[in-house]
Symmetry: C2
Subunit: 480 residues, 2 copies
């Protein structure tokens, strides 16, 4: 009991200090550990297993849509990075520079990739000659480095894991369709597998990726009302192709510049899960990516037949294709309850002497604490159903939080009133398209433009800032 | 036919120039492409898919034996690298140094990890306190950097992909058993899945990993008679624990230093496959890791019913769990034959109008060019059997090459005679255990000690060099 108490006491309440609650969870649920490398972290087995599950699902979705994995070098020569003007301006200030190999000083220093557009472009220029060589639909799972000043586990770190898709197409239409397809894949993954509702939209000009013609993003609302960009998909037009001399000969034997895209999601999604679903007892994991989907806790396990029965349930649940763990350790039941709540295991199965006698077990769901008595005859069906219930319940809860915290506003004053009375959230307000107004809204209200949602509504006819004719409804928020 | 001719002409014969043959294959089979980052390469989809297949099998073997994946930072502060004396001496001369983050000069410069013992040790010191925290059985799939002077694709590059296992145990016995277990897993994987026979052995003192108490390795013999170290497994004793202050309290509440191991295999294994199984028509891939295990080539595909039938075969082979490709492109049959030979696809299925009429297809195996007519009723069984035949045939061929090129020698003169008359290979000769003799053998014959094989034979009673009492049979060779 001593250990159990310690465990529960040691989490800050999310209402008291959301940021502290967050870092408590990443530590106590054993997702990460800090290192002496400033701004970098160890992703521990439980955290890494979440990422592996994400990878597996996403990688399957990428391959189903014809993408192939490759691996580029982790270094980019400074001269290569400089080839695309906007791109180097965006990234050079925040890269790590390798200046020496062994004791030898490098002539052209190398940056550790912050993203790999330049390397893919160099490669394309070597392998693409004819229309027959197109499209190339590539992806890689690697880590990248950006020299951030302030860092937070998963949300913003100097090194992070991600996938970066890079594709090149004969026509603009094809490349744009790819950009949209990948945004849709990200949204589907977030909503179905992470139980996290997202808003699909386009970034404003000022918020585009360095070198992109347009950037699409999915935006999610965290429990505290702040926005988190959960994935991006960029359309480059032929800008990179021109900068890197990538040309192909078309069917009429003319030289043409191809069109490119890139798209990525990162380990930031783990942070998104924590801040979307977590509560004051710890992590709450959506079943699709939970390292342990079901934990079996034997009650009074020293009594005859209990462990035997628990093992039998374990075998049956495992055979049903579920990631299941049986904890038959010496720790107290109370400690175990707290431990697996902290770790966010979606479904808990309890089995004790009385249950065995009655031919039943108790199934508890992490997200709402509900317990159901289930006949052992229906174990597999009940477990599958409960896992689905957790996913659906989490999604519903997150959606309700977002709806409650989405404010349609017609004026700057209205934005400020809403944020003051209701707390942070998504502000939906019209915009004329002028960057000055975008900046003014941020300055006067604290919320920046997150995206121009694909699903537009006409909240008013005029810009929330200048009162001129509105062009778009923008989703505004405070961003992680 | 023009393209086909070009394809075949463009490979150097392996007998003429083995090194050139090798680099021709890595390029023509589209495994890699060079980049402007010296000593680094792009691993292209076909090459990366081989690595993904290797990863999947090995990762499964690691997890079955209780290992968990984690992810450490890619950077190591210089001060941390310096904590273990032998380790820093071994690695510091060949690391890439990051000296600047953005425009800011770093106080403690960072190296890009050449290997991660120091990071794991720092982490252990944070999370290991009691005997209850042991063992930790960790692994990570990452890339590492070593600033090599001369590089060759897969075999020696400045950045390479690998897995590095790192474990920590309460006792020396447990750690030694882990070291041996992992060596056995590597050997099993190489022999069963890569069809590559290996010799398991222990490295001599002079050839140990920097910081290790003992290093075990598997050594394979390439087609040209040169040796390739295919995997290593290190036992560290408590040396790193002492250097990094990793202590735990045992059951009697005493402070004790734990014992560690590390072990790794790299993308070098792709190079090993090429040089073990490849021939003058290109790559030959062992089925377990081949991206395409079976290619279906429709003959006279414009004729009625051919493509339909080919698609039917495709569906059946795919349903049997085989990685299959149907090439119904416009390229000529001759071009396709050459293309999939170059790519080393283990099994080719041909189906044409006459075959359809006779209710049969032709199955060809890449490693020996044999063709078998098979009734369509037995398609799935025949394909599975052929894939097994390829694996067994490749293994047998490689084993015969090794046996033919293994020379038992009793004197230095005998070594020189054998190498001169038979060509490079493994020399088995006795050794007294003195480093001076080890060096002298290398100097006088060109072959260095590869390992002290686990399976010892008594070739003579005296050291091949000094004539004193022999302690071990050593396997000597020229190494990649």
């Amino acid at each position: 009991m001593a250990k159990e108490k310690k465990l529960v006491e040691s989490i800050t309440s999310m209402d008291e200090d959301f940021a502290k609650w967050y870092t408590d969870i990443v530590k106590k649920a054993e997702l990460i550990e800090y290192t002496s490398v400033k701004g970098c972290m160890v992703i521990r087995p439980y955290g890494y297993a979440i990422w592996e599950n994400m990878q597996k699902i996403l990688d399957g979705m990428f391959k189903e849509t014809g993408h192939e994995n490759v691996c580029m070098p982790m270094f980019i020569p400074e001269s290569l990075l400089q080839k695309e003007k906007d791109h180097v301006e965006g990234f050079a200030p925040e890269v790590a520079w390798v200046t020496h190999g062994g004791s030898e000083k490098l002539e052209d220093r190398l940056c550790v990739r912050p993203t790999s557009e330049t390397l893919f472009c160099e490669h394309y220029s070597n392998i693409i000659h004819s229309y027959r060589d197109l499209p190339k639909l590539y992806n890689q799972w690697v880590s990248v480095v950006r020299w951030e000043k302030t860092t937070r586990p998963f949300l913003r770190s100097r090194e992070f894991l991600w996938q970066e898709g890079h594709t090149i197409h004969a026509t603009a239409e094809e490349a744009i369709a790819e950009t949209e397809q990948m945004l849709n894949i990200y949204a589907e993954f977030c909503e179905r597998d992470l139980a996290m509702p997202v808003i699909k939209g386009k970034k404003t000009e000022s918020d585009k990726f360095a070198g992109a013609e347009s950037t699409y993003a999915i935006e999610a609302l965290m429990h505290d009302g702040k926005a988190l960009q959960a994935g991006t998909s960029h359309y480059f037009g032929d800008g990179f192709a021109r900068a890197f001399d990538i040309e192909y000969t078309d069917k009429e034997n003319k030289h043409v510049f191809p069109h490119q895209t890139s798209w990525g999601v990162t380990t930031r999604l783990i942070g998104a899960i924590i801040m979307t679903h977590g509560d004051n007892s710890g992590l709450v994991l959506p079943p699709a990516v939970a390292p342990i989907q079901v934990v079996i806790l034997p009650i009074a396990q020293h009594k005859e037949g209990v462990l035997e029965k628990a093992n039998e349930l374990y075998d049956r649940i495992k055979a049903a294709g579920v990631r299941v763990k049986l904890d038959d350790s010496e720790n107290s039941a109370g400690w175990k309850f707290a431990e697996y709540e902290m770790k966010g295991v979606p479904v808990r199965v309890e089995i004790g002497p009385k249950d065995i006698e009655a031919g039943q077990c108790v199934i508890a769901t992490r997200h709402n604490g509900e317990k159901t008595v289930v006949s052992l005859d229906e174990l597999e069906t009940a477990v599958a159903q409960k896992l689905q219930e957790v996913r659906d319940g989490l999604y519903q809860k997150a959606l309700e939080n977002r709806e409650k915290r989405t404010y349609d506003c017609k004026t700057i004053d209205e934005i400020n009133e809403k944020l003051a009375s209701e707390g942070d959230g998504f502000v939906m307000a019209m915009w004329c398209g002028d960057e000055a107004c975008e900046d003014a809204v941020k300055e006067q209200t604290g919320v920046g433009s997150r995206c121009i949602p694909m699903e537009q509504r006409q909240i008013s006819d005029t810009c929330v800032c200048c009162g001129k004719k509105a062009e778009h409804m923008v989703c505004w928020g405070k961003a992680y």
